[in-house]
Structure formats: C-alpha cells, structure tokens
Symmetry: C2
Subunit: 492 residues, 2 copies
C-alpha cells in the first residue's frame, strides 16, 4: 500500500479516479462504460440503501419490482420521455446465439431469433410502470399508489467516470400515483426533502434544494425538484431529483380513475431517484490527499484496531486487549475491525485505513500495555491522542458522532464560502474561472439567455433555490428585468 | 375479495396461478415472460434476502456488483457454459434509437449505432466475474475470494410461469475462488448446507440434499449439489444449487496464482444461487384452497387484527384495545397490521387475509369488549379459539413459533409419505402416475438409461442423495448392477 495519490491540486480528476481504485471502491470492467462495484464500495452502498429504504417506508412507500425490458412501443408512448432517452438506449433485438459455422467454438447472433418488437433496457421505468398502473387503478380508492423499486438501469454513455457517469448504474426509483395535483406536488416535495435529509444527515453532504429550469428538467416532467451539492473543485453535482410528472404519463398510458364524486380524470404522477452516483459525491466532498474520508454513518467499519508488537507473545497480549475493546464497542453497535494480520507492518496498515477512510484508528503498542492506554487517530482532522483503555468506549462513541457533524460543518463552510453573489457578466466569468462554486445571479427567465451563458461559460443553472427571496434586479447576461436570483455553476 | 380459488384437486396449475395473482404476489407484464413482483410478494422476497444475506455474511462472504452485460467474446470463453446458455440469451446489438421518418412520433433502431461486439444480458455471471478475478488474483495471499451478488438475470424462456420460470428473475449468485480443490469442494457443500438450513428453518420447506447426475449439472460445473423439495402435486422442485466448477473457468479466463510454495496453478471455483423461484416453492408447499399459507418467519405481517363493530363509538372502543395489543406485540418484534378500514366488512377482510396467508388473525367484537377477550384464528390449521386479552402477547409469541414448526412438520410428513422405494419399471411408472412424489430406485449410472427413463416417463433423476446407503441392486430400467438408489421424480 504505497498510498501515493496524485494530489487534488495537481489533477483533481486523476486524484478522484485513484481514490476510487486504490480504496477498493470500484473499477472499470471489460464492458464499455460499466463498472464493477467492489465489496468495500458495495458495503457503503448497502448502508445507503438500508437508511434510504427505512426513510421510504417511514413515509408510507412499499418496494416492488418491474421488468428490466421496455418494449419499444411502450417506450415511445410518452413522447418527451422517449425523446430524452432514445439516444442512449441499449436495445435487445435477438433472443438466441448459435454456433458460428465459420469460427469453431465461437457463437454468433441467430438471425432466426429476431424479436418482433425490440426491447429497450430500461433507462428509467415510468413507461413500464404506468402501463402497469393502468390495470391497477380504477377508482380513487386505489390511490395513492406509493411504490419504490431498487434496480439497475442503463443509459448508454460515451464518456464515463466511475460512479459519476456509467452506462449501467444502480439506483432506486419511486413512482407514485395520486388523485389530485396538489397531493402529487406534496409528494414530489416530500421526497426531495427526504433526499436532502438523507444526504445531509447521513452522508454529511450539504445540499441546496431547488427546482430545475425547464431545459434542465427530467424528460416528461412538469417540474423537477433537486438537491445540489458542491464538490471540492468548485463544481456542482446533482445529488438527487424528484419529479412532478403532471398527467403526462397517465395520458400517454390512458390511466384514469373515478373520483369520489363520480367524475373520470387522469391520475397525477411523481417519480424520484438517487443512484450510486451519490458515492461519487461522497468521495469528492470529504476526501483528501491521503485518500477517502468516510462519515461514520456510512463507514463499513467505523473503527479499526491496529496492534504494534514485536514477537508472538506481545502480539498475543495486545490481541487480548484489542479483542476486549472490540467487544465493548460492538455492544454499542459500533462497527469494528481488528487487523491482526502478521504479514503487514503497522505503517502499511495505517496507510491502508487512511486510504479507505476509516473514521477512527486505535493503535495499541507495548507501551500501551504497560500504561493501560491506547492511541486514537481521527481520519477527518488527522489528530492523534492517547487515552486510557477505560475511556475508549465512551470516547469513541462520542467522537464518531462528533466526526459525523464535523464533516458536515466543514463541507458546509466550504460551500457557503463558494456561493458568490454576482451582478455583471464580467464578474460572472471571472468568479467562475478563478473561484468556482455557485454563482447567485439574476436571470431573465428565458431559455435563450440560459443557453447563451452555457455556451460561453459552460455554467448551467443548477437550480432555482426553494428559499429564494423576491428581489428586483437585472439579468446578469441580458440586462432584462428579473425578480429573483438563481444558482449557476459548472457541474458534473 | 370473492376468494373463489379453483380447488387444487381440480386444476393445480390454475390454482397456483390464481393464488399468485389474487394474493397480490405478482402478475404477468406486457413484456413476454417477465413478471411484476407486487409489494406483497416483494415484501416476502425482502425477508428472504435479509435472512440469506445474514447467513452469507456469517459464513464470511461479502457482496459486490458486476455488470449486467457480457460481451460475446467473454460469454463464449468457457465453452460448456456458453453452450448451455446460448439458446436463451437476450442480446443487445444497438445502443441508440432514432425517429422513424416513416412513422411520425415513433422510434426505430438506429442502424448507425450497431455495437462492434454484441452484449449478452447475463444469464449468470461466471464469465464476467472470472474475467475480473483474473486481475484480482496473483498469489495465494489473494485467496480465497468469497463474493456474492444480488442481481437480476435473463434467460429467455418460451413457456413461463409466475415465479417458477420467468425470462427475467431476481436471484443471488455467489462466486468464490480458492487455492485448493478441497477448499472449493468444502465451500460448495457449505453453501448447499446454508441453503438447506434456510429453506427448512426459514421457509419451512423440507429438502433433500444431493448431487446432480452429469446430464443435470450446471453448464460448466464438475459437480452440482442441490436441494430438492416436493410440491403438493407430487412434483419435485429444485430449490437451490451449489456448483463445484473445478478449474474450468480459471482455465477459460487464464486465472493462475502463485502458491505458498512458489508454484503456479489455476484457481479453483464455486458458484451457488437461489432465486425468486423459491417463492413458487413456498406457495406450492404450504398453501390450500383458501389461499396462501405463510410461515411466520416470512410473513410481511404475522398478525392481523380485524375489528367487528357497529357504529363509530364501538369502532373507537375496539380500536383502543386493538392498538394496545398491536403495540405490545410490536414490542416483541412481532409484525402486526390493524385493519380498521371502514369501507370493508369483517367477512371480506377475513377472506383477504386468508388468501394472503397471514399466520394469525385476531378478531375483536362487542362481546370481546365486555369479556376482555379476543378471538384468535390460525391460518395453517384454520382453528379458532377465544382467549383473554391479557394472554394475547404470550399466546401469539408462542403460537407463531409453533406454526412455523407445524408447517415444516406437515410438509415433511407429506414428503416422507411420497418417497416410494421401487424395484421394477412397471411399478416405477405406476407409482409415478398414481402417487407421484420421489421414487427411490436403482440406476445403472449411465446417461443412456437416464434419458430413456426421461423419455418414457418424463421423470428425471432429481438427485443422488448425500445420505445414500451403499446397497447392491439392479437398475430399475436396464437391470444392470447398481450400488445405490437415486431419487427420480417429475419436476418443475
């Protein structure tokens, strides 16, 4: 474990990729654009899943599972949605391989096994699900339907990056059906709030809640709510979205219901999702030049114990102390790894766990045996301290909570300092290049201006913040009237 | 909820399908051969997943995630495996759709977006995983690798049945790599034992452990261990398999390791899996003409409380009692639903929960208010009893455990009574047609005989039981010498 990461300052993108690979989170596969999520990375995803799943259920949602394939005729039914995803679809056209007569031992697609109708590998499941809801919904009594699905989806990407943008990724997608527009809008907002709570409290990543401009909306949505995070390099990252779909899918799939007053109306829809992309956000929010930094809530093991010894007898004595501490910590539901491998030196192990972002390291050496002490090292601020063995459990219990909060506070200070209020386009460009981060600026509300700014600066409107203040001003680009500021940034 | 199921005796297959649909477990989708797992069915799968996942982790396995797609060149690398699955592969050939000029609003496959190499949607992941292990394994220090994956797989099926045989299904697949043959064989057996424990203790389905004959083995395996269950109609169902893969995949993907003695050798492999098919086995083991019967361990809710009242005041009084009981049960980690819906009558609810297999129903009516009693109904044996409200928690806690055991015992007696020892082919055919179940008979060990029996009777060798006794005899078909009996049956 050489732990020689390219410094963030030198090449942020390279640093990111090295962390993903060296911390054993994921790697590229032989399949273009698809990644392999390794056990350590997957263990983080499992923690995220468990917490999100609990939050979904606490808000009344149930899990279900819908097919991977979308027949072309269903896929194209909601035109905007189809148009939005058509360019990045993996398409199944055949259902059999056969021996290749020209190449012994090789296979080829059997032309006789061509499907009558092509199947799209789901890039998202609105089409399949609304085609199903059609038969589930007759009356207002059948509503609301509050369903979530944990699944893999495929969006063919030309330029991929581990976690951030991959052709196949894992996610959850909620799909709800409601009797009224108001109820659907409330659901959309509620789930965006659930995402914000999860990402802030569990992943320690501060986010800004807002809505997207029409050009940045999900294909087929009437309104897209989002949570936007800021990475250490000053670029924004969309961390989750929740869509109010209006009656678009109900109309495309003819899903009507009889209201309690006997009238027939189309059903109102929402959908919302977060994905393994969040792991990319996690890495780029907290990590440093020594490697990953994990918030305790997400760490596969929150504490690692490394013994420092010479000879078998000392190893045995230290192991006794270590195992006792491990047991006491586990009684408090703290996840602990005791690394007693003999073939690696302590320094090697220290590097490894720094790279893997384990929140707290306990080292126990011969001196500690004599003094009844241990050395505690915090991964987040790299501080070290020696405490007595009796104190360990309370100390760690307290400090895990403190680290969780400290990571959030640090990321939040960073972000606050990277939101710049700007009132002219020269400053806009200067700030974007020199400082990065979010730019709070007036915008005239037109797509024309939005696109012009994007073309000239690569910055997009990340969101119209939910907590915006009415404020008269002039568009930073066109000079036209504006009554509120929006947040611009370059983004992942 | 009319609860009119076709009786098992009349049409077992129809009865099965009706239970799946009417108990809200799953339904067919618009996509050929793919099913929709509805929330109630998925909640059962989640319980199964949680328990299996715990067992896998307790035996040292970690989860990871590998790509959905297998490039054709990887797929065909292990020839036997490729040959076994080639005929049922969904194949992705293109990565884009475009507007169909001839049909406004419709899409078509973009011929310019043809993949250079076709991608197979994974029917199983050995190829992708062993291609990956190649870069993970250099030395004996990298072994063993003990990984499991929860995933969807696709095997194109012409005749599908909900849960039992679907083109897409959910499963887990374990893939392990070992330094020695012996260790890999131990792992194969261990995981088969884990499956047997899970299915017997958690799903209350008795199984027979055995090995498959060479013609029934997994494509690419040297030995396949299995657990075989018996359904109520006398047909067998393969409930899980664990494969010793020898060095076949290591050779196909050139995965070698340096041993602790410095020699270079191919790595030894296992793989093992169970799927949503187990839910089919669950239904066909315990259910009756009133619907599903769920073992308490798997029931999304183990107890349902149905109030019987006239008027709002009585409803309120009963709800108070019900909620108190619910709370007390939940303190014991018992999953309880209180169905206080006013728009449905108690009889309707009774039917619904019988159909859905809820293990225990508590009914509380006006008389119970006076007497401080409740009525308890067991789903498994349909018995009813009245007990005092004070007794409820202990009574239910005890009876949930009892029901779990009773279901297993009942299924086991049924199965025992359906294993028939047979010594000539006339009896073999007669028993198969009249009684069904497993036939324990001598077999000469040749594939020729196995195929002849299959052709004539549709019975296959389900397994060579692990606990077989050496016993001299004559093959039931060929009359040739045999030293042990094997188990034949018609199977799902």
């Amino acid at each position: 474990m050489s732990n020689k990461l390219t410094p963030r300052e030198t090449d942020y993108s390279k640093w990111y990729n090295e962390i993903v690979v060296q911390a054993d989170l994921a790697e590229n596969s032989a399949i273009r654009g698809c990644m392999i999520i390794k056990p350590y990375g997957y263990a983080i995803w499992e923690k995220m899943q468990a917490e999100l799943d609990k939050m979904f259920k606490a808000t009344g949602h149930e899990n279900a599972y819908f097919p991977l394939f979308v027949p072309k005729s269903l896929f194209e039914a909601e035109e905007k949605n189809a148009e939005g995803f058509a360019k990045e679809c993996a398409v199944v056209t055949h259902y059999r391989l056969k021996n290749d007569e020209d190449k012994p031992g090789k296979l080829k697609v059997d032309p006789k096994a061509k499907l009558e109708e092509e199947l799209v590998v789901r890039p998202t499941s609105e089409a399949v699900i609304w085609n199903t809801y059609k038969s589930w919904i007759q009356s207002y009594r059948d509503l609301p339907i509050l369903i979530n699905q944990w699944a893999n989806v495929v969006r063919w990407e030309m330029r991929t990056r581990l976690f951030l943008r991959t052709s196949e990724f894992l996610w959850q997608e909620g799909h709800t059906a409601h009797a009224t527009k108001q109820e659907a809008i409330e659901e959309t907002k509620l789930m965006n709030q659930v995402y914000a709570d999860f990402v802030e409290n569990f992943m320690a990543i501060p986010v800004i809640q807002g809505t997207k401009t029409s050009s940045e909306r999900f294909a087929g949505a009437e309104e897209t709510y989002c949570i936007e995070a800021l990475m250490q390099d000053g670029k924004a990252l969309q961390a989750g979205t929740s869509h109010f779909l209006g009656q678009n899918f109900a109309k495309a799939f003819d899903v009507k219901f009889t209201s309690d007053k006997g009238s027939l109306d189309y059903v109102w829809a929402t959908s919302w999702g977060v994905s393994t992309r969040l792991i990319g956000a996690l890495i780029m929010t907290h990590s440093d030049n020594k490697g990953l930094v994990l918030p305790p809530n997400l760490a596969p093991y929150q504490v690692v114990i490394v013994p420092i010894y010479k000879g078998a007898e000392q190893q045995k004595q230290i192991a006794q102390v270590a195992l006792k501490i491990k047991l006491l910590l586990e009684e408090k539901n703290i996840r602990v790894k005791f690394d007693n491998r003999d073939k690696f030196k302590p320094g090697f192990k220290f590097n490894e766990y720094e790279l893997k972002g384990v929140p707290i390291r306990i080292a126990i050496g011969p001196n500690d045996l004599k003094k009844g002490s241990v050395e505690i090292a915090r991964r987040d601020n790299l501080s070290k301290t020696v405490i007595s063995q009796e104190e360990v459990v309370n100390y760690i219990d307290l400090h895990l909570k403190e680290i969780q909060l400290a990571l959030f506070d640090k990321a939040k200070s960073f972000r606050e300092q990277k939101i710049t209020t700007v009132d002219n386009f020269e400053d806009f460009k200067k700030i974007l290049d020199k400082k990065g981060g979010f730019i709070s600026a007036h915008w005239d509300g037109t797509e024309l201006t939005e696109q012009a700014i994007k073309k000239e600066t690569k910055a997009t409107i990340r969101c119209i913040p939910l907590d915006f203040k009415e404020e008269s001003g002039k568009c930073v680009y066109s000079g036209k009237d504006s009554n509120r500021r929006v947040l611009f940034a370059r983004a992942y």
